[in-house]
């Protein structure tokens, strides 16, 4: 029961770690460049979840001064994550642009095939 209790209280952190590992793994092991980018996004998302859940308080309200509200959610992580999302979007967009270029030049988006093509050209 204690374990379940603990799992329950840390569920966000847990999920974010799991997501992080999934993203990390996808990024490292998949050959398809698009999947790599997806992995990157999953990883980023897990981090956003982690960050936001740090500042989250059960029953807290959006941090706008209003009468009758006592508990506010910590706004700092949310604000930061907004920036983080923007960064992630730009990273993704840029990565996609690179993939487009790679596809134009190599005709494939498989990392192994690209390396094979390269080494053949060098040899």
């Amino acid at each position: 029961m204690v374990i379940i209790e603990r799992l329950y209280t840390n569920i966000y952190y847990l999920i974010s770690v799991v997501l992080f590992i999934i993203g990390f793994h996808t990024m490292l092991t998949h050959n398809n460049l698009l999947k790599k980018i997806m992995g990157m996004n999953i990883m980023d998302t897990s981090l956003f979840l982690f960050f936001v859940s740090i500042g989250y308080i059960r029953g807290g309200q959006a941090p706008i001064l209003r009468e009758g509200v006592i508990q506010y959610v910590n706004p700092v992580p949310s604000a930061l994550i907004l920036t983080g999302i923007v960064i992630s979007v730009s990273f993704t967009a840029f990565a996609l642009a690179l993939v487009v270029l790679l596809h134009k030049q190599y005709g494939t988006i498989d990392a192994d095939k690209i390396i094979a093509l390269r080494s053949r050209r060098h040899a």
């Binding site: 959006a62 706008i64 001064l65 907004l82 999302i85 923007v86 730009s90 967009a93 996609l96 642009a97 487009v100 270029l101 134009k104 030049q105």
Partner: protein
């Protein structure tokens, strides 16, 4: 090529989206929302617009320069309003004492925050649309000879 359904939907949805985006943009300091979210929504409406007309129509096509101006203008507004603080002998991005602060809760209520939000909104809208544009048509030539 025109798509009737898309066009009709666009006619209804684009103004509504833009209005919604503008609402979020202008109320950034009063309610959840702000430059990033509002800008993204407006940018999305631009994207929708170009999807509707499929880039085929020269007349309806948004120019690269336009989105560039959006982007650059937004950034300039941000940095510029930051520099105003220094001009007034305060710190960079100083709000209090430099910009007039109205009543709390009103639209004009928090000095330059609205200005900055607008800048960010323009920048983000421009960027989102530009990303879309570049991904569709941009990119260097295949073998790098130029």
């Amino acid at each position: 090529m025109h798509d009737m359904i898309l066009e009709m939907l666009g006619r209804i949805l684009i103004p509504a989206t833009q209005l919604f985006g503008a609402y979020i943009l202008f109320h950034g300091h009063l309610s959840p929302g702000g430059g990033f979210s509002g800008g993204t929504i407006i940018g999305a409406s631009f994207i929708f617009y170009s999807l509707v007309y499929r880039f085929s129509d020269k007349k309806h096509r948004l120019k690269h320069e336009t989105s560039l101006w959006f982007e650059v203008g937004g950034a300039l507004i941000y940095v510029g309003s930051g520099l105003v603080g220094i001009l007034f002998g305060r710190h960079f991005l100083t709000n209090q004492g430099v910009f007039p602060i109205g009543e709390p809760g009103r639209l004009w209520s928090s000095g330059m925050i609205l200005l900055v939000t607008l800048g960010i909104g323009a920048k983000v809208a421009g960027t989102v649309f530009k990303l879309f544009q570049e991904l569709l048509e941009g990119g260097a030539e295949p073998d790098g000879h130029h």
